[in-house]
């Protein structure tokens, strides 16, 4: 099963680097996928259980044994495994959110050298939380907001999680309340999910699925929404920003620092110190310091600082294969341990920074908020030092780099729309949807997965959507994929978008004084920034006086890989949104579970469901049909 290069990726820069790694005998994620063939059918079907030491147990889908040692059948095992995976994804986002809340709390207490960049957002959030904002100085208010946030992680009552109660529409709260899935606080629900799935507790697949929905809500509100809100307060709410993307953003004559992972607490400081230590880099013989990003840390500093994204998830090893990355500093999530081997073959130092995320062979700098500046400075100096050791003859940077526009927070989108109608900014958008110029909207999110040709499903799906007048918003590695393919740029509005969409985006762009249309795909940020999409949908539904589940919208994770994609998808379905995934999670071993997720049971309760389709053209068709049926139901 040797895979040809064009089956591995549609990204030409990635292909060039893959030729290089192949010639040099350096293994990458594609080689490792091949070495893993055949992959275990039990795992793929989700019918193996390792939850106790009587196991591992596997269910034979063709006959006996049909039960594990304890008596659990395929339905129980599949549902339990799914809940654990979703709880894993949820805990990643909640842990991330917790760290930024901790930072806000320490800012309020004057303990760390970070500033509040967006007082306006702080006040808006405080108001929504029911806090008195008048006459209060900013740090006091920040402390109170942090306190409220902490309560959403841990409280001592059975009341509904505060961040959800403040932002979820009443219609949803009622729906979730009836199903008994309203979360109390994040830590408690994650703990409960672990308890519920341990040996000899819950055997009812439907009860386990409801608990999974609850995890989705924890993720959506105490993970995504909370992280975005607090990050905007500390680092500023994004505004449209121009940049370039793909490996061509690396510069042969500069010290190249790559930030990779998900949390902006350190990477913001790294960006700052790269600017401040420019002279030291010049003294070392470099033309300057160039920072680039990978994965969502990359998205965070793109959105707020205009830092160019080098590549997405599957390209992380290939960035090192250029031989031009002097240092890659990582925090948590989606970091391949194999980076060390690739760096050893080419060049560059890998620096880990979090106590829970270390890799043998990396240099570890234990990051703390208190000493963030010293640590960021040390890391950038290490990069300069590494540059001195770089072998220029082995540098091979692909030419590909593509211009992009990013930074579309809800505030930025409404700001642009307000240029058309200052009193009633949502009106122009809603009118365009009503009159059919825009058919509806789809959010494409999530990972790359090496089982797909890198970026192919993202790009082909979105091309179809925008050609059919569907407005696309994107986050995460999906946004990177679309950026590399030129779809985050006004030119794509001119060349790829359908006539209705083109006309609307052109009008908004002109009114906003951009001198060009808005791009047909609005980059809304990192994976946690999926909350921005949620905020926008809630605002639209509210404006129209309908429920989110009735809007002509859908979500898609075309190439999902991580447990986080599962928890985000669960949140989207719980919000009432049809959620497309390019490949199914490991649930096919239970017809009960897979049938419920993709069919009538979940849809009738929540309004949304999962939709599995690997072919991007068919998926686009399916999503467009869905938008049309939602339009029809609204009488449009």
């Amino acid at each position: 099963m040797k895979m040809s290069l064009d089956k591995k990726t549609i990204d030409r820069a990635a292909r060039q680097m893959l030729e290089r790694t192949r010639a040099d005998g350096v293994k990458t994620v594609w080689d490792r996928l091949e070495a893993q063939q055949p992959q275990c059918g039990f795992g793929l079907l989700g019918i193996c259980c390792r939850n106790c030491l009587q196991g591992p147990c596997r269910i034979n889908p063709f006959g006996e044994p049909s039960r594990g040692v304890c008596g659990a059948d395929a339905d129980t095992i599949v549902a339990r495994n799914l809940l654990r995976s979703v709880a894993g994804g949820t805990s990643a986002h909640v842990d991330h959110a917790y760290e930024v809340v901790e930072a806000l709390d320490k800012i309020a207490k004057g303990q760390i050298d970070y500033q509040i960049q967006d007082e306006h957002k702080l006040k808006a959030i405080a108001t929504k939380l029911g806090l008195e904002t008048d006459q209060k100085d900013i740090t006091t208010l920040a402390g109170e907001v942090a306190e409220k946030a902490f309560e959403s992680f841990t409280n001592h009552t059975s009341e509904t999680m505060g961040w959800l109660a403040a932002w979820a529409p009443q219609e949803r709260i009622d729906t979730w309340g009836k199903l008994g899935v309203l979360p109390r606080n994040a830590d408690r629900e994650i703990r409960e999910a672990m308890h519920q799935t341990t040996m000899g507790v819950d055997a009812d697949p439907i009860n386990l699925l409801l608990a999974t929905v609850k995890q989705g809500l924890v993720d959506g509100f105490a993970g995504l929404k909370l992280a975005t809100d607090i990050q905007d307060i500390i680092f500023g709410t994004p505004q449209p920003v121009k940049a370039e993307t793909n490996l061509g953003v690396l510069k042969a004559d500069h010290v190249n620092v790559v930030v990779h992972g998900h949390v902006p607490l350190l990477s913001e400081k790294i960006v700052e110190w790269c600017r401040r230590l420019e002279e030291e880099a010049k003294a070392a013989g470099a033309a300057g310091i160039n920072v680039a990003g990978i994965c969502c840390t990359g998205n965070e500093v793109l959105m707020r600082q205009g830092v160019p994204p080098a590549t997405n998830f599957l390209g992380q090893e290939l960035a090192l294969a250029t031989g031009a990355v002097d240092l890659m500093v990582v925090d948590a999530q989606c970091i391949m341990p194999s980076l060390i081997n690739v760096a050893q073959c080419y060049h560059g130092e890998i620096v880990t920074t979090m106590p829970i995320s270390k890799i043998p062979g990396a240099h570890h700098v234990p990051f703390t908020l208190e000493e963030a500046d010293q640590q960021a400075r040390e890391i950038v100096r290490r990069a300069i030092n590494s540059f001195k050791k770089r072998d220029m003859n082995r540098v091979q940077i692909p030419e590909e780099k593509v211009p992009i526009v990013a930074g579309f927070s809800v505030e930025a989108i409404i700001g642009a729309l307000a240029k058309i109608n200052a009193e009633d900014p949502l009106k122009p958008l809603v009118e365009s949807i009503k009159n059919g110029a825009i058919l509806g909207a789809v959010g494409t999110v999530g990972c790359n997965n090496v089982k797909f040709t890198q970026d192919l499903v993202h790009v082909e799906l979105v091309k179809q959507l925008i050609a059919n007048d569907v407005l696309v918003v994107a986050t995460g590695c999906s946004a990177h994929a679309l950026g590399k393919a030129g779809l985050l740029h006004p030119d794509a509005t001119k060349n790829v978008a359908g006539p209705g969409l083109r006309q609307v985006l052109t009008a908004v762009g002109e009114a906003a004084g951009l001198g060009e249309p808005l791009p047909p795909v609005l980059h809304m940020g990192s994976c946690v920034d999926n909350s921005r999409i949620g905020d926008l949908l809630i605002a639209l539904a509210d404006y129209l006086g309908v429920a989110v589940k009735d809007l002509p919208v859908a979500a898609s994770a075309p190439e999902p890989q991580h447990e986080k994609a599962l928890s985000i998808g669960t949140w989207a379905v719980a919000m009432g949104i049809l959620t497309h995934v390019g490949l199914p999670p490991h649930v096919l071993g239970s017809a009960t579970v897979s049938g419920a997720l993709t069919g009538q049971p979940v849809e009738s309760l929540l309004g949304g469901k999962f939709y599995v389709e690997a072919d991007p053209v068919k998926a686009a068709e399916g999503l467009i049909n869905h938008l049309k049926s939602k339009r029809k139901a609204l009488g449009l």
Binding site: M1, Q37, P38, Q39, C40, G41, F42, G43, L44, L45, R58, N60, P61, F62, G63, P65
Partner: protein, 167 residues
Amino acid sequence: MDQILISPERCLGCRSCELACAVEHFPGKDLFLAVAAEEPPVARIFVETDGKTNFPMQCRHCQQPQCVNACMTGALRQDNETGKVIFGQDKCVGCWMCVMACPFGVIVQDWRQRVALKCDRCPDRDVPACAAACPTGAIRFMPVPDYSKEKRQRYLTMFVDEEGQND
């Protein structure tokens, strides 16, 4: 005489058979010891896949073994009584003629001893380790006539279903 017979449509590719084969050919025959061993044991069965069909392959113990014909030293021979194709490591000179002769590619190199290596049908066991480990029954150790009958029965069911005469 039972034979190792494969139903590839049941193979999930879990490679449990490879694991069990390796452990069976480890002196202590113990998974945890084998995993911790300095010289890990080698499996003589290989789960091959083309992406759609998985197929566990090992020596078929042919009645007309081409490997035996090819072997000049007599390291490979057919046991008259059992029909098994037996390998004697002490006679093997590592010429790899058998590797070339076997149509199934199931003779491999023992990279430590630099001699041939193949399925010996687990002389210490009643049922070969791979068949015993297979959780789906893709590998079974059974008489050829029974296997054939089962297959005939399955064909019959399919045939009748297609004609719509049986629900």
